[in-house]
């Protein structure tokens, strides 16, 4: 039996409960990043994905909590993503994941 990831609407509700003070636009972007990481992790019909790590719902909530905790860090989003996920990824994978996040967050990824 295989269960997919929750819908973005459901994850939005979860994030709203865990980090209610976080702006909605940031929460939406975090879920977009998570879903893109998941897509690359799962891969296509031809075979496995190109990432060895992924961002589960639990990981997403951990990332959001860390962002709130370290909100004053230079690029708190990246700092927290490292601690929630990418420190246990290969350097090339970390770079790829951060690039995904940068594309989603745009100018706010600094």
């Amino acid at each position: 039996m295989e269960v997919g990831y929750p819908d973005p609407e459901d994850e939005m509700k979860l994030l709203a409960e865990v980090v209610p003070s976080m702006p909605e636009a940031v929460r939406e972007s975090m879920i977009k990043v998570a879903n893109q990481i998941r897509k690359v992790f799962i891969g296509g019909q031809d075979g496995g994905g190109m990432l060895s790590v992924t961002l589960s719902t639990r990981g997403l909530l951990r990332w959001a909590s860390l962002v709130v905790t370290f909100k004053s860090a230079p690029n708190a989003l990246a700092y927290s993503l490292d601690r929630a996920l990418t420190f246990r990824a290969e350097p090339a994978e970390r770079e790829a994941i951060h690039r995904i996040a940068k594309d989603v967050f745009g100018d706010d990824w600094v």
Binding site: S21, M22, P23, V26, V67, V68, T69, F70, K71, S72, A73, A76, L77, F105, D107, D108, V110
Partner: protein
């Protein structure tokens, strides 16, 4: 080779046409004209006219002086520093590559405002001109950095005071600093109904209203996106950057 005074008229659709004039030793006047290009094929020579007078007539129609250029008998235009004459063959071989490169270089910006808006929009435009000028005047440093005053500030204020249709064009030189360009970009970005704003490079490349797409123009003014971000945010050209510390001010901060 004769020196020609080259003038340019910017159409509201972003295209432009050139007109050049020179006075021969016998007192006759030659003019050349055509779409902005490396060649001005059409030519006319006449007597009994002063170059000064017809230059003024053209300026009154909205033509803006570009540069003194050399033009050969076939109408090929050479800007100062460009090859001509004996080196023509070599220049022709490299023309295509140079054209690509030169289009990315910025030496002067040409702006054009064609206001055919209704009365209410003209009033709103006038209010916005004043608001934006006040906003960027608050950034004292920027005005201190400009080597030359840009007379477009006053022109825009005067024209919007009249609250009627108008057409105005001019140049922005490097010495004017980045502010005039940002101001015009902000108007273009905001988009007033019936008001067309064009900003183009010397090579007729129409500039977008997206600051991130114009790094070479920023470089021309000796600046970059990060340096102008505060004023660009005030003018609405960039979305204010996320400030998590401020947005999450009701939670504890564990960063030290």
């Amino acid at each position: 080779m004769a020196v020609w005074a080259l003038y340019r008229y910017r159409n509201s659709d972003g295209s432009s046409k050139d007109w050049a004039v020179t006075t021969h030793p016998d007192g006759s006047i030659s003019t050349r004209w055509g779409k902005t290009d490396a060649r001005l094929p059409s030519v006319n020579t006449r007597n009994g006219v002063r170059q000064f007078d017809i230059e003024r007539q053209k300026q009154a129609k909205g033509y803006v002086f570009v540069a003194e250029v050399a033009i050969d008998h076939e109408g090929n235009v050479a800007f100062p520093g460009q090859n001509h004459g004996d080196q023509q063959a070599e220049a022709d071989e490299n023309r295509q590559a140079e054209a690509v490169n030169s289009r990315s270089l910025v030496t002067t910006l040409y702006w054009h405002i064609d206001c055919k808006a209704d009365h209410d929009t003209c009033i709103n435009l006038g209010l916005e001109v004043r608001r934006m000028i006040s906003a960027i005047q608050a950034c004292d440093d920027w005005f201190a950095q400009a080597e030359q005053d840009w007379d477009g500030w006053q022109q825009l204020l005067d024209l919007t005071l009249k609250r009627q249709t108008f057409t105005q064009s001019g140049q922005i030189q490097q010495a004017h600093g980045v502010m005039p360009w940002l101001l015009l970009m902000a108007f273009k970005f905001k988009g007033f109904a019936g008001v067309e704003i064009g900003i183009a490079t010397e090579h007729s490349r129409e500039l977008s209203a997206d600051l991130k797409a114009e790094p070479e123009v920023l470089a021309f003014f000796g600046t970059d996106l990060d340096s102008i971000r505060p004023v660009a945010e005030i003018l609405g050209l960039l979305k204010p950057r996320l400030n998590l510390a401020s947005a999450l001010s009701d939670t504890d901060d564990c960063w030290f």
